[in-house]
């Protein structure tokens, strides 16, 4: 086991990890943050998307030990930490636009969409498609997801189109 320190969703944590365990393994199995999903394990589907040191990554392709000294933010960081039922405008927009069917890909979609909106305040639809190209949705809710991101950017979360 290797001791590592990281800031996880704003909180300093000192943990020990196996060198061959990924950041995804450790988040889900050791730290009980199961919002981040395990799916393809080859960096294609984006279900395991988290932010590492300010940039989104596929946590299935990052060794946990690589996060040593770094900052990790997961989907659990999006809602108000003092009131987990208080969803962020982006999360609320996903619900109100019907973007969530089975829901499995949604944590990754949210992390990618949140990252896009941090970089581009008012993305075009092609920019949203490109920003979310690393996140697959097997239910096929792409239009609703893009609508939700667009609505969030327009400050119109919660309004039906």
């Amino acid at each position: 086991m290797i001791p590592i320190n990281l800031r996880l969703n704003g909180e300093l944590r000192a943990i020990s990890v196996e060198p061959h365990h990924t950041l995804l393994d450790v988040l889900r199995d050791d730290l009980d943050l199961t919002g981040t999903k395990e799916c393809c394990l080859v960096g294609e589907c984006g279900a395991c998307t988290v932010r590492l040191n300010g940039r989104i990554v596929d946590s299935c392709l990052v060794l946990a030990v690589e996060a040593d000294g770094g900052e990790v933010e997961t989907v659990e960081s999006l809602a108000d930490p003092s009131d987990r039922s208080a969803l962020s405008p982006l999360q609320q927009a996903f619900l109100s636009h019907g973007a969530v069917q089975c829901g499995f890909c949604i944590p990754g979609q949210l992390m990618a969409a949140d990252d896009l909106l941090r970089h581009v305040a008012h993305p075009t639809r092609p920019e949203i498609e490109e920003g979310l190209a690393g996140n697959l949705c097997r239910c096929g809710c792409y239009y609703q997801i893009i609508d939700a991101v667009e609505a969030t950017a327009a400050g119109a979360a919660g309004e039906q189109k």
Partner: protein, 278 residues
């Protein structure tokens, strides 16, 4: 994933010493977007994984020095795509870096890693070839500079010695005006490996450089002159050796698309050269 030891050298010398000591039992970890997949599927079963991201010389950096641009070994695709210097001087490479994987992959995958993996489909390889890239390698002996065209051997194999690391990629700043373009064919829009990649650079002195990938064991570079474009395309198609069994595209399709994309890249590079002249 099979267990392995993890080493995180803090100097180049430590990293090289580890590589020499461990020999073939070590694997180098930069971005990990290819390595971790191969660790998981058992393609690689190293005793030790050497993470080179804390070595100061490899920290992400794109800098202009003495008429060339030096891209450090730890520089990721997002850094390349977002760099104003790269956008100004090497737009075809920026276009290639922008289509590697997804945002998540580009935030992690290094340019040097794309070259070291030596995938025939490496998106950045054709652009680096037409821009005359040099690979800076550091090992037990002296620092070596290998022209990228000599660095690629075949799929997955490079001229890098066992205990060497790529510390940087250097691109000469064009001495005159240069028009360049990148073209790529995938099965679908978005995140996919390329069936054909083509890059072209046309120099105002009349030299035309055309490189392509995904059509044989390694990316290839051909050099011709303005006015001989049809001949250059014919030479490219003749030199290509697409896989007969790839699931991504059949050989006939790839050869046909090489001709189409080469023509488009030549036209776009030529238009960009004329635009630069205006």
């Amino acid at each position: 994933m099979r267990p392995f030891e993890y080493a995180r050298p803090e100097t180049l010398a430590q990293a090289i010493a580890l590589l020499e000591h461990e020999g073939g039992r070590a694997r180098v970890l930069a971005g990990g977007t290819d390595l971790v997949i191969r660790l998981r599927d058992g393609t690689y079963e190293p005793a030790v994984v050497i993470d080179i991201k804390r070595i100061p010389e490899l920290a992400p950096a794109i800098a202009e020095v003495d008429g060339l641009v030096r891209i450090s070994g730890g520089t990721v695709m997002t850094d390349v795509a977002d760099s104003a210097l790269m956008q100004r001087s090497f737009p075809a490479l920026v276009d290639a870096a922008r289509v590697v994987g997804s945002v998540q992959i580009r935030n992690r995958a290094t340019l040097a890693g794309n070259i070291c993996n030596a995938s025939p489909a490496a998106d950045t390889a054709p652009a680096l070839l037409v821009y005359d890239a040099t690979v800076v390698c550091f090992g037990p002996g002296e620092e070596r500079r290998i022209p990228l065209d000599d660095f690629f051997v075949r799929s997955g194999v490079t001229a890098l010695a066992p205990a060497e690391l790529v510390t940087a990629i250097e691109l000469p700043l064009p001495s005159g005006r240069l028009g360049a373009a990148f073209q790529r064919r995938t099965r679908r829009r978005g995140h996919d490996l390329a069936s054909v990649t083509v890059a072209v650079a046309i120099h105002d002195r009349g030299e035309v450089r055309l490189a392509f990938g995904s059509l044989g064991p390694r990316p290839l570079l051909l050099v011709g002159r303005v006015g001989d474009e049809a001949d250059l395309i014919a030479r490219a198609v003749a030199a290509a050796a697409p896989s007969p069994t790839s699931m991504r595209a059949g050989p006939e399709y790839r050869l046909a698309m090489l001709g189409v994309l080469a023509r488009r890249a030549l036209d776009a590079a030529s238009a960009s050269l004329r635009g630069a002249a205006a």
